[in-house]
Structure formats: C-alpha cells, structure tokens
C-alpha cells in the first residue's frame, strides 16, 4: 500500500511536470466564483469584468495564451476548496482567482501555500486573508481600509453617537472592530453594536432597535447584494426622516443595486475604493463598455475582477511568460497601475492592495442614483497590517 502510494504520487508529480511542459504556450487561470446561490450577483460582476478585460486585451500575453476556466462554487466554501484543488491538480492552473466570500478565500489558502500557486482574491475583504499563504495577492479591498476612513470622517462631521449593524461573519467583524476603535479614539460614542445573521436577514427588527437608541448615524456593513433590502427598510422605518444617517463601507450602497433603492437612499455617506461615478476617462469607458456587454452597471466587485486580470497580464509580461507561483508572485509585488477606480498598487510587503479611498454621498445624476465622490484619501494601506 505504502509502496503503491509512493508510486502513485510519483506518477502524479511526473504528470504535473509534463503538464508544466505543455503549459509553455498556455497559462491557465482558474476562476472560482459563485454563479449560482446567494452570492451569484457578485460572481456575475466578476465574470463580466474578466470577460471585458480579455475582450479588450486579447487572450495572448508575452507569447502565452491565457485561458480562463470558470467554475461555479454555488456559494459554498467547501466547493471552492475542492474546485480549486481540482484546478490546481488536474488542470494545472497557474493562478486561482475569484473568491467572493472570505470563507472560500480562507479555505483555499492552505492549498495555495502547499502547491505554490498564486491565489488572486478578487472580492473577499477580510484583512487576514493575505496572511494565510505567501502566494495570496488581493485586488479588491480590505474592510479596515474603508472603515477607518469612514470613522475619521464621521468624527469630524458632527456625528457623535453611532449604532453599528454588521453581518455576522469575518468581514463584518473586521468592519465593526476597525470602525469602533477608530471612532472611539476620535472621541465618538458607539451606543449599540448589532450583528445580523449572514443568511436571509430581515433588517426591520435590527433597525428598530437601532432607531430606539436614537443615534446620529448607523454604521452598516452588509455583503454586496443585501444593501438594497437594508436601505429599503431603513427608509420604511422613517429613519431618514428622523435624521439618522447611514454611514459605512461602500458595500451597502452597491452600485449594482443602487438604481433600485429609491430616492430615500440619497444622502447616505460611505467610504469605498470604487464608484461607477468615479471621474476619470478610463472609468467612463469602463462603465460604458461594461454596461453594454453585461447589461448591468459595474460595481466595486467588478473592478476587483478587472484589475485582477490586469495584474495577471502585467505579471506575465514581467516574467516573460514564466507562470510558476514564485515568479508570478514576485512580479506582482509592488506592481502599480491605473485602474478604473484610480491609481492602485500591490504592497510588496503584504501583497495586499494599496489604493485611494473615497468618501462618497449618494446623489441623483441624470435621473440615476450614484455614489458621488467628494473627498479622496490617497494610497491607503490596510490599516490592520500597518500596526504590526
């Protein structure tokens, strides 16, 4: 038995080598996202962005053909792990990308470390993810980035009492912790902290609870896709009329759902790294092309996918087509470029993203709702990692 296993592993490794030889003209990228299930809307944003990028830039880079293999996780983290494993072992991908939720990204981390394959996180926003494997790189954002900025802003803008409502999972905990720490340091007061369940939330009771505490603002983080229900119930409860503001990371005023939220959402202030309204020529073209191709408006998740592809392409150019994990990750470290969201770079130390965080307010432009940026904080690193 033991003997056999050695033999089997041996042949498999030989197979991997052979695969490597074959891979000389093709670089495979495994795209592990949810096309079905509760996170499907995020998966579709990323998919559309990846498609758009490849349409614009062709599928050949540094003499290599880039092949994206899309696999659906059905929003189940253990699927993500199994699929990533298959992609690495059977399809011999050079990069596994995607991961809209933290559990999926974390579940794949040990694989990435063991197989020395780059794990490119295009969406999940919990700070610790990048620390779980030396081959993880992120093109989305971290929640502390936005939460700290929004806390600073709130303290300066006459908001004294805040209730926090966050979804009960790792990113929510991140957002809550970094907001509260910063806000308190700046002299603010957090009167109540509420955690809402991640699945199928009905925010009405939580909002009522928050309203009864009579704060100046509610700090809210919910995953992309749930923001609309939250805002609906916020207005329905008359909290807007009661003068209670909504502040938070930009997930709650997700560009994808914003047009549907109704005018009541006008005035919500959020901090985030991307708005479809971002004023740059590159972004205007991006939004136009994206909307034309996909049929819906790009949100912050989409730029994670778009920039992720860009990072892969540029890294391949730099390595001259070498696609092993060590070369790629080395090439990716310190990479700087202009994205639809503005200038961004990969921190060479932490492999996490460094980017501008914008304060935005929801306004109506040309009859449509947008997050309009009014203040820019340049080159924000993940605060959780600076401290260390």
């Amino acid at each position: 038995m033991r003997h056999f296993l050695k033999f089997a592993v041996g042949t498999a490794i030989a197979g991997l080598m052979a695969g490597g030889a074959y891979a000389q003209d093709t670089v495979k990228v495994g795209l592990v996202i949810s096309m079905t299930g509760s996170q499907a809307s995020t998966g579709k944003q990323i998919k559309a962005a990846v498609d758009l990028y490849m349409k614009e830039h062709g599928d050949t880079v540094a003499g290599k053909k880039v092949q994206v293999i899309l696999r659906d996780t059905a929003s189940v983290p253990d699927n993500a792990k199994r699929i990533a494993q298959e992609l690495i072992v059977n399809d011999k991908v050079s990069v596994v990308a995607g991961f809209e939720v933290t559990p999926a990204a974390l579940a794949v981390a040990p694989l990435s470390a063991e197989a020395k394959v780059v794990e490119l996180v295009m969406a999940a926003g919990t700070s610790i993810i990048t620390e779980k494997s030396p081959y993880i790189v992120r093109t989305s954002f971290t929640l502390p980035q936005s939460s700290v900025i929004v806390a600073n802003w709130a303290a300066k803008n006459n908001i004294k009492k805040v209730v926090t409502i966050v979804s009960d999972y790792a990113p929510g905990a991140d957002a809550e912790k970094w907001f509260i720490d910063t806000f308190k340091k700046d002299g603010g007061q957090v009167v109540e902290t509420i955690k809402a369940p991640l699945a199928n939330p009905d925010f009405a009771p939580f909002l009522q609870r928050a309203a009864d505490a009579k704060p100046d603002a509610i700090f809210v983080f919910v995953p992309s896709g749930q923001g609309a229900v939250f805002m609906k119930q916020y207005t329905e409860r008359g909290l807007d009329k009661a003068g209670i503001k909504v502040i938070g990371p930009g997930d709650v005023t997700d560009d994808d759902l914003l047009p549907q939220m109704g005018d009541a959402v006008i005035g919500a202030v959020t901090a985030h790294m991307y708005s479809a309204d971002h004023d740059s020529a590159m972004n205007k073209k991006y939004v136009a092309d994206f909307t034309k191709a996909a049929g819906f408006r790009p949100n912050f998740m989409s730029v994670g996918g778009y920039d992720g592809m860009h990072l892969i392409y540029e890294a391949l150019k730099k390595t001259g087509g070498k696609a092993d994990g060590d070369s790629l990750i080395a090439a990716m470290k310190g990479m700087k470029w202009e994205s639809p969201r503005g200038p961004i770079s990969i921190d060479p130390e932490t492999r996490d993203i460094v980017q501008n965080i914008y304060m935005r307010k929801v306004e109506k432009k040309n009859g449509q709702l947008y997050n309009v940026e009014f203040e820019t904080f340049k080159d924000v690193k993940d605060p959780a990692k600076i401290k260390k």
């Binding site: 038995m1 033991r2 056999f4 296993l5 089997a8 592993v9 042949t11 498999a12 197979g15 096309m35 079905t36 499907a40 579709k44 899309l70 696999r71 659906d72 059905a74 189940v76 983290p77 253990d78 792990k81 199994r82 494993q85 298959e86 690495i88 072992v89 059977n90 933290t102 559990p103 974390l106 579940a107 040990p110 694989l111 063991e114 197989a115 979804s167 009960d168 999972y169 790792a170 369940p197 991640l198 699945a199």
Partner: protein, 338 residues
C-alpha cells in the same frame, strides 16, 4: 438433532440466498478499487463520490429499508463533519481513523436522540421534523461561532497522517484510498446488517407496520435502532468530507445537501444498498459535466431530471438497474424456484 426435512433444506437455501455474494458484486468492487490505479487524476472527484455514496447509503438504510422519509439527513452529516474537524483542530483525537469513528458516534447519539421525534406522525410530520432538526443545528453552529467559526467556516484544521503513516496529499490520492476503504468496510457492515433477521424485520415494518406489530416485532425500537445506525453512517460521511478538505462550514447542514442526497439515492434506486453508490457516481458526474457546460444554470437541468424522473415513474427510470438488482438482490432466486 434430526436430519432436516427436504423443505427445511430448501428453506435454508432460500433464506441464505439473501446474504450470498453475486459475481457482479465482485466485479463492482474490483472496478471501484481498480480506479485507484487507472484513474489517478480523477481522485479528487472520486473522493467526493466516495463520501457522497456513503452518505446516500446511510439514507438508503432509513428510507429504502425502514421507509422513513427525511429531508434533514444533512443534520448527521454536518454534525459528523464538525466533530471530525474539531477533533483534529484541537488535537483531541488526531489519528483520522479514530477521529472518524468518534465523529460517527457523535452523529449516532444525535440520531438516537432525534429518532424518538421521528416515531411520531406521518410523512409530512417526519419531513418537517427532520428538516427542522437540521435547521436548528445550522443555527446552533452559527451561534456558537467561538467553537465552529460561525459563517466563516472552521478554518485552520490540519489533518495528521492516516494511521500515522499516510499523509493527506494535495493530489487526493491517499484521501481517496482512505474514503474508498471506509466506504467498503461500512458497506460490508450494512450488507451484513440487512441480511440479518433485524434487516428483514425493517423491510417488514416498511411493508406493513400494523402486521409487523401483530407478529410481535417491536416496531419503535427497530426504527430507533436503524435511525441511529443511519446517523452513524451519515456522520462518518461528513467526517470524511471534513478530513479530506480539512475544513467544515455551515453548508454541511444546508437544505440543498439533504435535497441533493434524495436525488442521488433516487437515481440509483432505493433498497438494495448499491443504489446510493451508483447514484453518487451518476449524480456527481452529471453535476460536474453540467456545471462545466453551464456554470450558471446547471441547477435547472438537475431539477428537470428530478421532474422527469417522477413523471415517468421512478420504477421505470431505474429499470436500467434491474438486471443488476435482480442478480445482486434476492430476486434471482425468487423468480426461479430451485
């Protein structure tokens, strides 16, 4: 003892036929174990098939043999999964085989405790109670985030080598051999169980609970027993998932998992033990193929398969397996009285 009468000899033969191995069964298992050698790059999906087969086998024990309709079988699977992952994470039981057994036991205890709820009421009540138990457990796992990791899943599990010798490698080779061996051993146990008077009495209860009582069968206790055993099997299946992925998340309790499981078992056919295994093979391959072909809309086709199966009639749909069933099962000697 006096020489048995001719009828007694025939009767002995007839009853023993239930336990007799058919050549096709040997072929089946030779092929299964052969896959270790001839499909080394399919071991990851084969691993999935192996634990899913075991999970479906556990449902077959309670649905196919005892006739208990459950829509919450994932409860046991999930408990087993978390148990195995937690035992490894906290270094309580590090040796996987032993930990797997413990995971099964935990699920069996749950099965025993909840079986009394399942004795009450008709199909719909059982359906809802089983579903409710799974939902409650999911909520519990979510609430006790300090233990289970909540919605983030249980991260940071590292598995020790199996029996201290075979490491869970990234290619899933050892993991597959491990799952297959566990499946085979538990299959043998189930086969033996179902050839016993106890197994026979379950079929009787399924066929006619009224008469089963009238010939002195303690119906309730038999159902409790098989539900507990089914819990054990499902727990082991969940444990296998946790051990081979070194991970466990709330989804182990999900409704979809229980619903898919029903589909797996129904595709393969109930009540002859191989149904779950064959169903798992077909279901996984179908799902994998569909998901590759249509990553967004594959559930549609799975749903269509279900709808068509019911409309056409499950009996007719699974008739393809009839020759195998007939040979494997006792039907062969029934049709041809020797």
């Amino acid at each position: 003892m006096t020489e048995p009468t001719p009828t007694a000899k025939l009767a002995t033969q007839g009853i023993l036929a239930r336990a007799r191995w058919h050549p096709l069964e040997f072929v089946f298992w030779i092929v299964a174990f052969g896959s270790i050698w001839f499909a080394p790059n399919k071991h990851l999906i084969l691993t999935e098939i192996a634990w899913l087969a075991l999970f479906a086998l556990s449902l077959d024990l309670i649905l196919g043999y005892a006739g208990i309709l459950s829509l919450g079988h994932a409860a046991f699977f999930g408990v087993g999964s978390y148990a195995a992952a937690l035992l490894a994470k906290h270094g309580i039981v590090t040796e996987p085989v032993l930990a797997l057994f413990c995971a099964g036991l935990v699920a069996a205890v749950l099965g025993f405790a909840t079986s009394f709820l399942m004795l009450r009421g008709a199909d719909l009540t059982r359906l809802m109670v089983s579903l409710g138990v799974a939902l409650v457990l999911r909520e519990l796992a979510n609430q006790f985030g300090w233990l289970t990791g909540g919605a983030d899943g249980l991260q940071g599990v590292t598995m020790e080598p199996i029996l201290g010798l075979f490491r869970f490698d990234m290619f899933g080779h050892n993991g597959y051999v491990y799952c297959l061996v566990v499946l085979f051993v538990l299959f043998l146990a189930a086969r033996r169980l179902m050839a016993s008077p106890f197994g026979l009495s379950l079929l009787a209860i399924k066929g006619n609970p009224l008469r089963a009582r009238a010939i002195g069968i303690g119906v309730d206790m038999r159902l409790v027993a098989i539900y507990t055993i089914g819990g054990f099997y499902a727990g082991v299946a969940g444990g296998l998932l946790a051990q081979t992925t070194a991970f466990s998340s709330l989804d182990v309790f999900s409704f979809d998992r229980s619903a898919d499981l029903l589909l797996v078992l129904i595709i393969g056919g109930t009540g002859y033990l191989y149904g779950g295994i064959i169903g798992a093979v077909i279901f996984k391959i179908m799902q994998d193929y569909l998901a590759l072909w249509s990553p967004q809309y594959w559930p549609f086709w799975i749903g269509l398969v279900l709808v068509v199966m019911v409309l056409v009639g499950r009996d007719r749909m699974t008739r393809w397996s009839e020759p195998l069933r007939a040979l494997v099962n006792r039907l062969d000697w029934r049709r041809t009285p020797s």
